[in-house]
């Protein structure tokens, strides 16, 4: 068993990065994720593992430092909160286009604009649909506990290198600021150049020996035919992610007539809402997507055939609900999909969620559950 500590989600991100053999962190402070870099600066990992920690002059600089360092095959990361991620959008698109592995962390706050520093989940679209330009996808992991903030650093890097693709941890201010018991991972040494090539192939700009052709890292392709081939390959990679790396947690879904779908902090609230609803005699379950891309479509399609309705609970005006609707439509099911959310930095309470469920599905609850087929 690893070392047990009481830590904030943001602090754990920093600790996990050091322990998983991260080579470099480039960032710029912003509430509510500033503790990530603060913790790194206090820990001084450059003395311990050789990891570089650098405060850049802006988010734009940070993401381009990540681009440069990732091109050398190093395990590098940055973190920010919503407005900062918007500033990074161009660089993220370039990283995806050049197929560079890296870890991005968004500890979301309420928007739009400068918004609020309180927790939000309104960057779902930005994270899973693009955010930057072009047809690209990030691998998006949504932690709902401090333990998962720890675990997803290593997992994020693993997936990023598996697919040569940026991975993002999409957290929110609550998970970042909250302290929980966490079991820390054991230290893994940073990869040597040889290990990097052995584990990930010889694509990075690690210094060209006479024996191989030069490795070129770019997202630019002047010939449209070549650019289309690149796009086709990217799409094939994204389909592979959908085949192999969907992650989710299903809580009491087996006999559920209504299913709450929620990720991150909202999923924690919904877990309690399931308890409250079950005490009232309502058969409610919770589906918690852990990967937001690849989205757990298949399980939603399966559930759509036996449940009367889905309620997407989000700290936003309703974004993930669109992906649920697509999956239910794909299933050919007439299960109803609705949304309940709070905005502006407010976290819904479990009672509010149950009341919303009773309100939005009052027909089904009054006249008996409408079976889908």
């Amino acid at each position: 068993m690893g070392e047990i500590k009481l830590m904030k989600g943001n602090e754990v991100l920093a600790e996990a990065a050091i322990r998983c053999g991260c080579d470099g962190y480039f960032g710029y402070p912003i509430t509510p994720q500033s503790e990530v870099m603060e913790t790194l600066m206090v820990r001084e990992p450059w003395k311990e593992t050789g990891m570089v920690v650098l405060q850049a002059e802006s988010e734009v600089a940070s993401i381009n430092m990540v681009y440069g360092a990732a091109a050398t095959g190093k395990k590098v990361m940055t973190s920010s909160s919503s407005p900062g991620i918007s500033l990074m959008a161009e660089g993220i698109s370039y990283l995806a286009g050049a197929e560079l592995p890296c870890l991005l962390v968004n500890v979301q706050r309420g928007g739009p604009g400068l918004g609020t520093i309180q927790p939000s989940q309104a960057d779902y679209f930005q994270a899973v649909k693009g955010g930057g330009h072009g047809d690209y996808k990030l691998i998006v992991l949504a932690p709902s506990s401090v333990q998962e903030m720890n675990d997803f650093v290593d997992l994020g890097f693993e997936l990023a290198f598996k697919y040569r693709n940026p991975a993002m941890i999409l957290a929110d201010g609550a998970i970042g600021q909250m302290m929980e018991k966490v079991e820390l991972a054991d230290y893994k040494p940073r990869w040597t150049k040889e290990e990097l090539v052995e584990k990930n192939g010889d694509w990075a700009t690690t210094g060209k020996p006479a024996s191989r052709k030069k490795n070129v890292i770019t997202s630019l392709e002047m010939a449209s035919n070549d650019m289309e081939v690149r796009n086709i390959n990217l799409q094939a990679k994204y389909r592979k992610m959908e085949e192999e790396d969907v992650r989710y947690e299903a809580i009491q879904c087996d006999d559920a007539e209504f299913i709450l779908v929620a990720f991150g902090t909202a999923a924690r609230v919904c877990q309690k809402a399931v308890e409250v609803a079950r005490e009232k005699g309502l058969k409610v379950g919770l589906l918690r997507p852990i990967t937001l891309f690849p989205f757990p479509k298949k399980v939603i399609k399966e559930l759509a055939r036996k449940t009367a309705g889905f309620l997407s609970v989000e700290m936003s005006a309703g974004q993930m609900v669109e992906d649920i609707k697509l999956a239910v439509y794909d299933a050919g099911s007439n299960a109803r999909v609705d949304h309940f959310g709070r905005m502006g930095g407010i976290i819904p309470t479990p009672t509010e969620v149950v009341e919303a469920l009773e309100d939005k599905f009052s027909w089904e609850l009054s006249y008996g559950v409408k079976r889908s087929y």
Binding site: I4, L6, T31, P32, T116, I117, Q118, G173, A174, Q177, M178, M179, E180, K181, T265, R268, V269, Q271, K272, A273, E275, I347, T349, P350, T351
Partner: protein, 183 residues
């Protein structure tokens, strides 16, 4: 066992650190714990509060509407959280600065004159530990041994010389807590 509590007062009263010591003590007793603070504008000079949950099982929502226990250390928090205590729950408060004492009769109310006692002890900084001691007297959910370990864990080592003073403050809290109303 699940204890869902809120500790609320002014920034600087040691609300967040009291919660942290409680959470660490819970870990020492092999419990699941969650510590969720107010952060941002409300922390910068205004009211501060922290939700602490200690449980034998996996903790669901870190955000709650009602609490088993509320520790209330200013009037604003009294106005906000007296009504949020579950029927049969516990409200512990310091009467210093409280102009409208709690009126509910369906909860257990205790008071501790911790501000006064900390001044008498010659160290206003131990205020929160006096309150913490009172809390543990009223709600003995954790063993004193584990609380002592939790205290040591949550203090940086350079402050470990202050542990005896903190324990003394907690003892004081245990002694001076008064029952106001018991269901």
């Amino acid at each position: 066992m699940t204890e869902e509590m809120i500790i609320a007062g002014f920034g600087g009263q040691g609300v967040l650190s009291m919660g942290k010591i409680l959470a660490y003590s819970g870990i020492m007793e092999d419990k699941e714990v969650t510590w969720f603070p107010s952060y941002g504008p409300e922390m910068r000079g205004g009211t501060a509060n922290v939700t602490v949950i200690v449980s034998d099982t996996r903790i669901s929502s870190p955000v709650l509407q009602e609490y088993d226990t509320a520790i209330i250390l200013n009037q604003q928090s009294m106005d906000k959280f007296e009504k949020a205590v579950k029927p049969g729950g516990v409200l512990l408060y310091d009467p210093n600065g409280i102009v409208h004492p709690p009126t509910r009769t369906d909860i257990n109310v205790f008071k501790v004159e911790a501000t006064k006692a900390s001044v008498e002890m010659g160290n206003p900084k131990v205020f929160n530990m006096i309150v913490f001691g009172s809390y543990l007297k009223v709600r003995p959910i954790l063993s004193p041994d584990n609380v002592e370990k939790g205290l040591a864990k949550s203090l940086p080592e350079r402050y470990h010389k202050l542990i005896p003073l903190n324990l003394e403050a907690m003892q004081k809290g245990r002694e001076i807590v008064e029952e106001v109303h018991v269901v």
